[in-house]
Subunit: 99 residues, 2 copies
Amino acid sequence: MQNRLALTATVDREDALRYTPAGLPVLEMWLKHQSRQTAYGFDRDVACEIQAVLIGEEARKFSGKLAGNTVNLTGFLSQRSLRNPRLVLNIEYVEFVKG
Amino acid sequence: MQNRLALTATVDREDALRYTPAGLPVLEMWLKHQSRQTAYGFDRDVACEIQAVLIGEEARKFSGKLAGNTVNLTGFLSQRSLRNPRLVLNIEYVEFVKG
């Protein structure tokens, strides 16, 4: 069962680091993506916004350093919660895009 | 600028084939995904729903054949329209998952 998104995006906003009841660091952020995609034989400007979450040691490492930066992300999509169907990218890998 | 989603999903609902003003066949569908992902050292049940669109000859080829089936899809994410920020998967490749 595949579920893998690779996205280059700018971190528009980054929350303060928080912790789960079990003590895991959690960093939530909001991403903006813009690119040009070739689809069906013609070029197209593509834009989207998506919420993303980083959990664990990486969350602590990147906290406070992401907002305003462009990053390459990979991870999987899930709905926000049982009651909220909004899509969230669960980040498994993040790296800064060199400017 | 990366923007690539690979997703295994069940086609919950499929619209009737329609055509753009330029005559391109368009097939819209609604996907349901469920899987188990290993993240941050533990397994997690993941679910999401996303709208998807297939354009061109493949739309004609798959029209009427997708609903109820499980498929592997790859494509890119965009917002639905300038005014509607909802995420849509623009399908570039689709194949049936053998049952």
